[in-house]
């Protein structure tokens, strides 16, 4: 019964989305206030219905209601509770429901907190958001209904893919969707502004927090996914340039560009039409991502569901929204006139350069991702685009971006003097180069990658410090500290996020350049050397887990005779899913990870063992977390909450009170 209520709520949410689309859009164009006012309750109701529907599905998973087809296929009564819950979004239908829930959440947030938006703009934003909801709810209900029942419920389920039974992946999709779908707000704002024909500073102030929030969640989501791939897949890689990974990376790059260009709209009222275009494209890449992940057109190790019919529907949604928005853009963009002028050397110019580099980098990733599809259609050749392509074509743009970042970040608006900017940064530059030289001498004769990474990382982190020091101004230490403490949170956020970028760059280059790998057959009791460590395969035994059987090795790691760690790599077998998994054992450290994998048993009684030393691996994700933290700091800036409405009234005639 309760399941049917959830199903019914889903259909009601669909109807609410239809109302949220039609009424406010008609009302805004005709000037009917009653129609426009319907947007708020419709958005709220849609969110509540979907929340109820999602809770019901979760209830179905928690109570193992195997009359639900979805629960049967993705759950099992013996599964730990947390994975019963995460199983809700560990499959196509449930994750689509989560997607719709997040869409509705964002619309509802705009309805609740958008009180100081102009009436027509708010109505239009909610209307467009409603249209996106409507199309995705239609997709969910008509092609992939999560509430489909089974005529004859089985006694137990088929279990969730064991690879997904993992804390890292339990939280990866919700964060990713908060990011992906959050970009729909920027899209709705952009289309609404195009319909209105007006983009001003207040608009920029509205779009920025939404983009910032989406970007922040996307950063965390991608980091979690990469971290999961690192420790769970047992290959020790952190990024595979797989189509599904790229699908989340392209919106991230565009969102990062949008984040920066909306600052220019907000502060200087320039780059308006470019910002609108980015807002459209950012969500466009989210839609393309959904298409790539769910249609199965590209071979991916992560493929979700392979259903061409769903692919066609998603492609139609993408075509509809992108085609519509870009047509509108072509017709209206010329009406958006820039106000602010800026000199060639100015923060505006630096942000333009940032935007171009990020957009071109996204373009490179896009070409690399869809090239196999294009080549098959155009030349009839099956091919894949591998990591060497992305390393060669993508990296130069990131290097350029990192090189100009501290210069741009310390430049003033409107007009800057290059000499003064560089003067402040000389110390940072000298230190960074010294750092690179140090790394180069220490590693003698290995890849040039690590020294370059070290220079860029130090340059970014020190540049962020210089930026903060400049903001602290002159005077004695206490007045500087007081000024620093009173700096707007957005300035802190900027410095922190930029430093995080540097940390990630260092982690990636150090890991890539200095990783040590060893594959061998070891007998129980045998000790072998990997780098400076001595690893002993002490014991191999079998155990019974909650819903799996495991073969666990005990491996002792020592350095110079002193024990460092005892690790337990496993090979698990999940009998319900009939699936083995490899669980790498990792000793996390600040300067290195020890990463051990146990492989096949050998005929002569030994075991295949794969050992890695991964220097500075954790810095990659630590940097991502620092970046996201910077985003959160910036988001908490009170100016986002206060000034959005205030700016508009300050420009209007001054009220008499």
């Amino acid at each position: 019964m309760i399941i049917e209520l959830g199903h019914f709520a889903l259909i009601l949410a669909f109807l609410m989305a239809a109302m949220q689309t039609v009424l406010p859009l008609v009302g805004a164009s005709r000037g009917w206030r009653g129609f426009m006012a319907a947007a708020d309750p419709a958005a709220t109701a849609q969110f509540l219905f979907l929340l109820f529907s999602f809770s019901v599905l979760t209830w179905g998973f928690v109570t193992s209601d195997f009359s639900l087809r979805l629960v049967t296929m993705n759950s099992h009564s013996a599964k730990p509770l947390i994975y019963k819950i995460s199983g809700v979004w560990g499959n196509h239908e449930g994750s689509m429901l989560l997607w719709c829930l997040v869409l509705a959440l964002y619309a509802a947030l705009a309805a609740w907190f958008g009180g100081n938006l102009s009436e027509t703009l708010k109505a239009r934003v909610l209307g467009i958001q409603g249209a996106i909801s409507l199309s995705f709810l239609g997709f969910l209900i008509f092609t992939s209904n999560p509430f489909a029942r089974l005529e004859v419920p089985p006694l137990n389920g088929e279990d969730l893919n064991p690879l997904l039974q993992d804390p890292g992946l339990a939280f990866h999709p919700p964060f990713l969707y908060l990011g992906y779908v959050g970009l729909s707000m920027a899209f709705s704002f952009a289309v609404a502004a195009l319909i209105e024909g007006r983009v001003d500073a207040a608009w920029g102030r509205w779009v920025r927090p939404w983009t910032l929030a989406a970007w922040m969640f996307l950063t965390v989501g991608i980091a979690l996914g990469s971290w999961w791939a690192y420790y769970e897949l047992g290959w020790g890689g952190f990024w595979f340039w797989d189509p599904v990974e790229n699908a989340s990376f392209m919106p991230w790059l565009i969102a990062a560009a949008l984040l920066h260009s909306s600052i220019v709209v907000e502060k200087r009222e320039a780059l308006k039409s470019w910002t609108i275009l980015l807002s459209i494209l950012a969500f466009g890449f989210s839609l393309i991502g959904a298409f790539i992940v769910r249609s199965g057109v590209l071979t991916s190790v992560h493929a979700f569901a392979n259903d061409p019919e769903r692919g066609v529907y998603l492609l139609a949604i993408t075509g509809l929204f992108m085609g519509g928005a870009l047509t509108l853009y072509a017709a209206r963009a010329s009406a958006l006139e820039a106000k602010g002028v800026f000199s060639l050397t100015s923060r505006e110019s630096a942000l333009v350069a940032n935007n171009i580099l990020l957009a071109v980098a996204a373009f490179v990733v896009f070409v690399g991702t869809v090239w196999p599809l294009f080549a098959e259609m155009a030349f009839g050749r099956k091919l894949s685009v591998g990591a060497p392509f992305f390393d060669a074509a993508f990296t130069p743009f990131m290097v350029a971006l990192a090189a100009i970042l501290p210069i741009g970040a310390t430049m003033p608006w409107k007009r800057a003097r290059m000499g003064r900017v560089l003067g402040a940064l000389t110390g940072a530059l000298a230190l960074s180069v010294a750092m690179g030289g140090l790394v180069w001498t220490l590693q003698t004769g290995r890849s040039i990658l690590a020294p370059i990474g070290a220079v860029l990382a130090a340059w970014l982190v020190l540049g962020a410090l210089v930026d903060l020091r400049q903001r602290a101004g002159r005077g004695d230490l206490s007045s500087k500290l007081r000024r620093l403490a009173r700096l707007p949170r957005a300035d802190w956020g900027k410095a922190v996020a930029h430093a995080g970028f540097g940390i990630t760059i260092f982690g990636i280059t150090a890991l890539t350049a200095w990783q040590v790998e060893d594959i061998r057959v070891a007998q129980v009791g045998e000790t072998f050397a990997v780098g400076p460590y001595d690893i002993t395969l002490a014991d191999v035994d079998t155990f019974q887990g909650p819903n799996y059987e495991t073969t666990m090795a005990r491996m002792e790691v020592a350095r110079d005779g002193r024990p460092v760690a005892t690790l337990f790599p496993e090979k698990r077998f999940y009998p319900v899913a009939q699936m083995p998994t490899t669980e790498a054992a990792i000793d996390n450290g600040v300067a290195r990870d020890l990463y051990l994998v146990i492989g096949d048993p050998q005929d002569d009684g030994g075991w295949a063992v794969r050992s890695y030393i991964k220097p500075f691996a954790n810095w990659i994700w630590a940097g991502c977390i620092v970046m996201a933290l910077g985003g959160a700091l910036s988001l908490s800036d009170r100016r986002h909450r206060v000034a959005a409405g205030a700016a508009k009234s300050s420009r209007a005639a001054v009220p008499a009170e």
């Binding site: 071979t299 190790v301 070409v367 392509f389 992305f390 594959i519 699936m579 083995p580 096949d600």
Partner: protein, 152 residues
Amino acid sequence: MRGLKKKRRIQVIALAVVALVASTALIGYAMRDGINFFRSPSQIAEGPPAPTEVFRIGGLVEAGTLVRGRGETITFNVTDGAASVPVAYTGVLPDLFGEGEGMVGTGSYVDGTFRATEILAKHDESYMPKEVIDSLKEQGTYQPPDGAMSMN
């Protein structure tokens, strides 16, 4: 003011064009090394590629040929029903690798053996790489996964 804005816009567009050209050139350059063609075992039997070329092979792991558990290197034959190519791989195999299962490997074809540097198998049991399905269909040996339940 107006002239300056126009000039700035032209400069921005020029910069964007330069970046786009640079990226296109880089893409073209990177494609020379970064692209791996896909070959089925029968294509390799017809005309073996040069030993320097890195490409992808895909098919089913032929039953009875998988030798694992004898040293670091694992050997097996990959087949599409018509031809079969021996593969050697050093490393730990992906979890869902087994005889009769689909696989895709990256590597090069040296002296009649495909030396794989990377082996991909599927992530869940109902998934098979698209290239493998296509090449099996070409040879008429493709069987869709059984039952509607596994069509996740």
